[in-house]
């Protein structure tokens, strides 16, 4: 992993193939390589992650969480390509969530519909309106711009599971990339959430829940995903969610961008640290049960989505936000209540470019 030193001004060649002219500097390693080698090394690394972590089994039905943003578009593209090239034997689908954000989600959904055609993958759309009777526009009108990410994140997680059930898939893949996971590790340290800290670097989660999810992009840099999409001229939607500017995650994101400039490998180092933290397995993990109201997986009497919904329907927007009260009663060992944005580490958080 070294930057080739600049020799005399002689025409440099791609340091991987030594045939073609380099057109880019690889963000992860700073190697100067040509386009073809970049595609190859990008795709091959993801293939290795999939194989070494045994993410899939032949014959599985797999839903790709598709927002229309760069991560999920590249994920859909690369996964179908690798599925073909290496004969994974997977049945791939696109699963998209419509949170009901005018001027944002409706545009990105158009992108996903185009992806359905371009990649030939069947698309299923699940909307908050249908599932919960509320759109994010309605919710924000009611609760304002603080804590709105909490609602969205909680609802989305469940919506993805419901959509996956409709499609009858065995697994869900999301486009969480190395930057996302590094941010989450930092956030969990900053917020004191040791339980989440121990889970957030797992490449596969929810194996004991309704539907396992995995993150093939766990070691893929966001910048490289953008680069890939750019060079391959992939069709994606690139605007930040209009409701996200106050997310706390922004602090971590800024820091990681600065860090990447100083030392690109630091992103992977954060993930490595997260994997290596000595956290006792007896650390209080939530006990798994089911929600009394809707039957979804829950560690409390009611699942978080039901608690939040109840609050919305009753005109009590603070219900389920902050310290426990109301439906779930007084839990002495209530897990840390984060503010906006970090409710579900499994679903994509606001503040990222493509949600």
């Amino acid at each position: 992993m070294e930057a080739k030193s600049k020799k005399s001004g002689a025409t440099r060649l791609c340091c991987l193939c030594n045939l073609r002219r380099p057109v880019l500097k690889r963000p992860k390693t700073l190697q100067q390589i040509c386009r073809e080698c970049f595609y190859e090394v990008f795709e091959e690394e993801i293939h290795q992650v999939i194989v070494q972590n045994r993410l899939f089994k032949s014959g599985e039905r797999v839903a790709i969480g598709a927002s229309g943003g760069k991560d999920s578009t590249v994920l859909a593209y690369v996964l179908s390509e690798l599925n073909r090239r290496h004969n994974y034997g997977l049945d791939l689908f696109l699963l998209s969530i419509d949170e009901g954000i005018t001027g944002y989600r409706d545009d990105s959904l158009e992108t996903v519909k185009r992806n359905e055609v371009q990649y030939g993958l069947p698309l299923q759309i699940v909307s908050y309106k249908d599932l919960y009777g509320w759109t994010m526009d309605d919710i924000v009108k009611m609760i304002g711009l603080k804590n709105n990410c909490t609602f969205c994140g909680v609802f989305r997680r469940q919506a993805l599971d419901r959509g996956a059930a409709l499609l009858k898939v065995d697994k869900l893949v999301t486009g969480h990339n190395a930057d996302d996971i590094a941010e989450t590790v930092l956030l969990n340290i900053l917020r004191g959430d040791i339980a989440r800290l121990s889970r957030c670097t797992s490449i596969t989660t929810g194996e004991d829940g309704p539907i396992p999810r995995c993150k093939p992009f766990k070691y893929t840099y966001e910048k490289e995903i953008v680069m890939y999409a750019y060079f391959k001229k992939l069709d994606y939607f690139s605007t930040e969610c209009i409701y996200s500017p106050n997310a706390y995650r922004g602090f971590a994101r800024e820091f990681i961008k600065d860090l990447e400039r100083l030392r690109p490998r630091a992103i992977l180092d954060i993930i490595k640290s997260g994997e290596d933290f000595r956290i006792a397995t007896t650390t209080k993990m939530p006990e798994q049960g089911t929600c009394e109201r809707c039957g979804y997986i829950s560690s409390q009497k009611w699942c978080k989505a039901c608690v939040l919904l109840e609050g919305l329907n009753r005109g009590l927007p603070k219900m389920g936000i902050g310290r426990p009260r109301g439906v779930n009663g007084d839990h002495k060992k209530e897990t840390k209540k984060p503010g906006p944005a970090v409710k579900s580490i499994e679903s994509k958080q606001c503040g990222s470019l493509d949600f």
């Binding site: 004191g192 100083l262 030392r263 640290s273 956290i279 840390k336 984060p338």
Partner: protein, 455 residues
């Protein structure tokens, strides 16, 4: 624990209540001009824009900070009557407070000793050490000379009881028989390609020089004044450098990996308290220019400062999270020859399980940073060639030191290895001996399966 919010009366007050604990606000919310603790004296105002200003009187404030120090010392058996304690003094505010508090403890112990009839509990000894980094920063030599003068007078003012001062040139890590230690230090540092790596290597050398002066002068404890704020930065720098496994070793109250165990009695105090205390008690400090950071360490410091602006208790939360990581067996006071230790102390140490059993040396340690290594990382120890010292160095180091400290190519690495202090190189040899291949050699005749037995 860094800061238990429910009982904490210092600057750590979580406005967002996002850690779930209940803040017991005192019943009176309005601006009263009386100390919220003792309710008699007038509260101190420091006017430094920090949190919790104007709430406590000078006495309650000082008692609170000293109380945290003393609690850390007693509950972790950091300083017991038969100990000889060396205080690492940089001239900065944290180590100044640490020195002051240790001095006050010693005065109290002396008073008790003189008042007691049987004189059963001796007074622990205290020395002070300052590491002179002029060899690494030649431009600062005048500044350093002035600083040392000031330190000398400060230490001599802290008696009785008198305290020995050891001014340790950092190049002393190379031992007295090294040819040109200053030059060797410069060559060593220059061969490190990465700025952050250079800074970190200097820190490791500093610790080595402190260990050296401590053990050569009969000290059995090294007091380091790291406060919560510094530890919070360390948590983040360690995370960012891929040192998540060894992190929990660095941030406990006691670190007995070293020959002379390190204790951190100010671990539960935040920098704001320490700065305020220095102001309150007129404790002078000196800020040396070589303290400034670059690269990643600097970036993290700025990041923490930014987070603190947003929420003044963030540092405490960071350290509290990291405190939940599992410490190592050496994060306790070690078992020693008990003949000098008073019975009362022995009983307390045993009762609270405060000693560790030194025979449990199951960790491999990086020769440069002394970080315990994850078994999976050190599996590469098996595969190096005999005799290639530089490769042995590479194999023995943790992945973080390999990247940021070791030069990348073989010959520079060999040269680098020749500049390293002997103590670090001997660590490499020590690990070589413990490698799997060596062990297999010893029991080969009793193994029934082939070489390729999977462990």
């Amino acid at each position: 624990m860094a800061c238990n919010s429910t009982g904490c009366e210092s600057g750590c007050y979580d406005r967002e209540k996002d850690n779930g604990s209940k803040i017991v606000e005192d019943a009176v919310v309005t601006q009263e001009s009386v100390c919220v603790k003792c309710k008699c004296n007038e509260p101190m105002t420091f006017g430094d824009g920090g949190s919790e200003d104007g709430r406590f009187c000078a006495e309650c404030f000082r008692n609170n900070v000293f109380g945290k120090f003393r609690l850390a010392v007693t509950s972790h058996a950091m300083i017991t009557p038969s100990d000889n304690v060396l205080v690492a003094f940089s001239g900065g505010s944290s180590s100044r407070v640490a020195l002051q508090f240790v001095h006050e403890l010693q005065i109290k112990a002396l008073k008790n000793y003189e008042a007691s009839r049987d004189r059963s509990l001796p007074v622990f000894g205290v020395g002070v050490a300052f590491v002179d980094e002029t060899a690494a920063f030649p431009a600062l030599s005048t500044e350093m000379i002035d600083a040392i003068e000031w330190i000398r007078s400060t230490v001599s003012s802290l008696s009785p009881p008198a305290k020995g001062l050891h001014v340790v040139p950092i190049e002393s890590v190379f031992g007295s028989d090294s040819l040109d230690p200053r030059d060797r230090l410069v060559k060593l540092l220059d061969s490190v390609p990465d700025d952050t790596g250079k800074e970190d290597l200097l820190l490791h050398l500093k610790m080595l020089s402190l260990q050296k002066v401590a053990s050569e002068n009969g000290y059995n404890r090294l007091v380091v004044g790291s406060c919560t704020s510094r530890i919070a930065s360390h948590v983040l720098t360690a995370t960012v450098k891929g040192r998540g496994y060894s992190l929990s070793a660095d941030i406990q109250h006691v670190d007995a990996r070293w020959k002379v165990p390190i204790v951190l009695p100010l671990r539960d105090c935040v920098r704001q308290e320490i700065t305020r205390l220095c102001l309150l008690d007129g404790l002078k400090t000196v800020e040396l220019a070589c303290r400034s950071q670059s690269g990643i360490n600097d970036l993290v410091s700025s990041f923490v400062a930014l987070l603190q602006e947003e929420n003044p208790s963030r540092e405490c939360t960071i350290v509290r999270t990291a405190a939940k990581l599992t410490p190592f067996y050496f994060n306790k006071i070690p078992e020693t020859d008990d003949s000098n230790v008073p019975m009362a102390t022995q009983r307390r140490l045993k009762r609270f399980n405060l000693k560790y059993d030194g025979s449990m040396t199951t960790e491999a340690f990086c020769p440069i940073c002394n970080g315990p290594q994850n078994r999976s990382d050190s599996s590469e120890l098996d595969y190096f060639e005999e005799g290639q010292e530089s490769d042995a160095l590479y194999a023995a180091c943790c992945s973080s030191c390999r990247f940021q400290i070791l030069p990348q190519d073989g010959s520079s690495r060999e040269q680098f290895g020749s500049f390293l202090p002997d103590h670090m190189i001997s660590q490499v040899k020590h690990q070589k001996v413990n490698s799997q291949a060596y062990l297999r050699e010893k029991i080969k005749d009793c193994l029934l399966l082939d070489d390729e037995e999977v462990v």
